[in-house]
Amino acid sequence: MKINFNNKAGWKVLSIAMLLGVFFTFNQCVVQQYDSVVTKINSDTEVDPYHSDPITNGETLPGGSGEFEETGSTEVARLITDVGVKDFEEIYVTFQILTGVNISNEGTLRNVYSDIVSQLPFDNSIKNFGTANQIAIIKLASEFCHSTFNKSVYYNIFFNNFNIGQTSNNAFSNNGKMMMIQDMINRFWGSNVQPINVEENAKTELNILIDDLLVGLNNSTTTTRTVAKGVCTSLLSSAPVTML
């Protein structure tokens, strides 16, 4: 179809198409369903392939050790996905790498991890991921962020541009807020890694979070670090960090 750029309708069609394209492009956070879903459904009519119809012509046997089959009683449970979530140790080490916290020197942090390790995701399956897992992730992230912004040895080298040593009134100008958020995004999500609109949405939300956190707090460097802990926890426990 040839679009006439002198035609008003042509402009409209093109504009709408572009907007829809942008919208659908970023509508990614859904479980993808494949056409050839591998299922194993038990039913009264199902024939046992091993005992009633043994294969003798050299073909591959049905089934296997079971580890490659997506079983479940619901359609959702049988869906095959190609997104996953990090397991307990992957999350633990990821947090260490991203915050720079040396876990060997942080006994309290190690104890917290030991206490909640059973609540963190056990494997990479997104289908096993539940509310309790996310709460445990947030808890662990908050402890890492607390450690990060409680010790100068960590927070003094954390930011590339933002000055964590400023009092909150000086630190959180509009420009200062953006500087902190961008530094944290670059560190936790990778610089120029996430789609632009994802980053923009995050910046908007984190901007609001900073304003909310500042309410009722006095003007001090402690307040600056307290706010940093909040932004840090939000970003560290977010999907771009914990998902595969």
Binding site: F5, W11, L14, S15, M18, L19, G21, V22, T25, F26, Y34, S36, V38, Y50, H51, P54, I55, T56, G58, T60, L61, G63, G64, S65, G66, E67, F68, E69, E70, I80, T81, D82, V83, G84, K86, D87, E89, E90, V93, T94, I97, L98, G100, S104, F122, D123, N124, S125, I126, N186, R187, G190, S191, N192, V193, Q194, P195, I196, V241, L244
Partner: protein, 408 residues
């Protein structure tokens, strides 16, 4: 004005979709292959991005994966937690580092070296140990796992600290693992290779599969871990049952049809192979290997005319019939766990099992029908020139997953 608006929209949509795609792919490859993101401030992601941009398609992705796999976390996080479930009956990764895990990690690390195929983990006289720990209690011992637990507690880089040793010649308490002199080492087990058969004779495998029982667990878990098949999958009532041991009743519940139609389907094949483990026992917190047959192999003679184990010979009765589809190659009978491991490792089922396991690990989904050709090609590549290069398998599988995710 309208043209400017359209141009802005075009620019925005294209840039928001594609501007970071190479970096996003690099980020995902690193996370999939190591379980963690690149270290902030390092140039790893930049190198990976350049690799992806430098070569279009799968080659660029493979080059990026080859960079990511150099991270210590490929070994410390991804491989460690992938292998741990193979080392215990519960199949859980909630287990400490042990010699089974360390040996597999070391073998994967070295699998790109000439003469060190990964498949030797099933037959080689090999064990990977860590360094001297500065405390005798934490040095390598045959009757303790402290050495490996300490390595894990101290978060030592498995990529860097693991060294290869001959399993038959590592002393009981080695205080200077880094000392390469083997002249004074005493063989603790009876002569020859002393039953060394890679991870099959490792301490962790012994604790899990040789303790009590009848040693049948060793065969079953070897099949599950390295052929991706449980005995139910091998069930074949058409093969002869002359190697089924005495402890198996021929008329369970008073009905011999149950034996002929059910029990024999697994036991005829597995008992014929299980003789390979006749000399192994788990005692005093270590694997012991005797020159004679362990008593557990012939106990509870519920059927006197059943097979009496007199040596560690084995025969693969599953090589014919429906289970010929596992692609057995080479000699199908022999003596001891090492020769059995060799036979297992040469089968196509072993290669494709490794390819499937790696696929599931890095793609986070089981291979589907559309992936069968890829799995087969990876299995063939593993076997090429007897190289069994597992790092190559991880690199190519990860690249394929990422390509599929973004291209399809």
């Amino acid at each position: 004005m309208k043209k400017i608006l359209i141009l802005c929209l075009i620019t925005f949509s294209i840039s928001s979709v594609f501007a970071n795609e190479a970096r996003l792919k690099a980020w995902e490859i690193h996370n999939r292959l190591t379980g963690v993101p690149p270290v902030p401030g390092s140039n790893t992601i930049g190198q990976m991005e350049n690799a992806i941009n430098g070569n279009s398609g799968i080659i660029g992705l493979q080059n990026a994966a080859a960079i990511a796999i150099q991270s210590r976390y490929f070994y410390d996080v991804l491989l460690k937690n992938w292998i741990k479930p193979m080392t215990n009956v519960a199949k859980t990764k909630n287990a400490p580092l042990n010699d089974f895990v360390a040996t597999m990690i070391g073998a994967i690390r070295d699998s790109d070296q000439v003469g060190k195929p990964f498949s030797r983990i099933l037959y080689g006289d090999v064990v990977y140990v860590g360094p001297s720990m500065g405390n005798e209690n934490f040095n390598f011992r045959r009757n303790s796992n402290n050495h490996y637990e300490e390595i894990e507690d101290r978060r030592l880089s498995l990529k860097d600290v693991l060294v290869e040793r001959m399993q038959s010649q590592v002393n009981n308490t080695e205080s200077s693992i880094q000392n390469d002199s083997r002249n004074d080492v005493v063989n603790l087990l009876a002569g020859g290779r002393n039953g060394s058969a890679g991870v099959l004779s490792s301490r962790a495998a012994g604790e899990a599969y040789f303790s009590a029982g009848t040693n049948r667990r060793a065969t079953r878990y070897m099949f599950m871990n390295f052929l991706c098949r449980d005995f139910e999958d091998m069930h074949d009532t058409t093969i002869p049952d002359f190697r089924v041991r005495k402890d198996l009743p021929r008329d369970p519940g008073g009905d011999s049809r149950v034996y002929k139609n059910s029990c024999v389907g697994c036991h005829a094949g597995q008992d014929a192979l299980g003789g390979a483990f006749a000399h192994y026992q788990w005692s005093n917190n270590r694997v012991s290997y005797s020159s004679g047959v362990q008593g557990k192999m012939n106990r509870d003679p519920l059927f006197g005319a059943g097979y009496q184990t007199t040596d560690d010979s084995w025969i693969n009765l599953w090589a014919t019939g429906q289970n010929a589809s596992l692609g057995w190659q080479g000699v199908q009978q022999g003596n001891g766990a090492s020769e059995l491991g060799m036979m297992i490792s040469k089968s196509r089922a072993f290669s494709s099992c490794m390819a499937k396991k790696v696929f599931k690990l890095v793609c986070i989904k089981p291979p589907g029908e559309s992936d069968e050709a890829f799995i087969e090609s990876m299995a063939e590549e593993l076997e090429q020139n007897n190289k069994y290069d597992m790092k190559n398998l991880f690199i190519k599988t990860t690249a394929k997953c990422i390509e599929d995710k973004y291209e399809n």
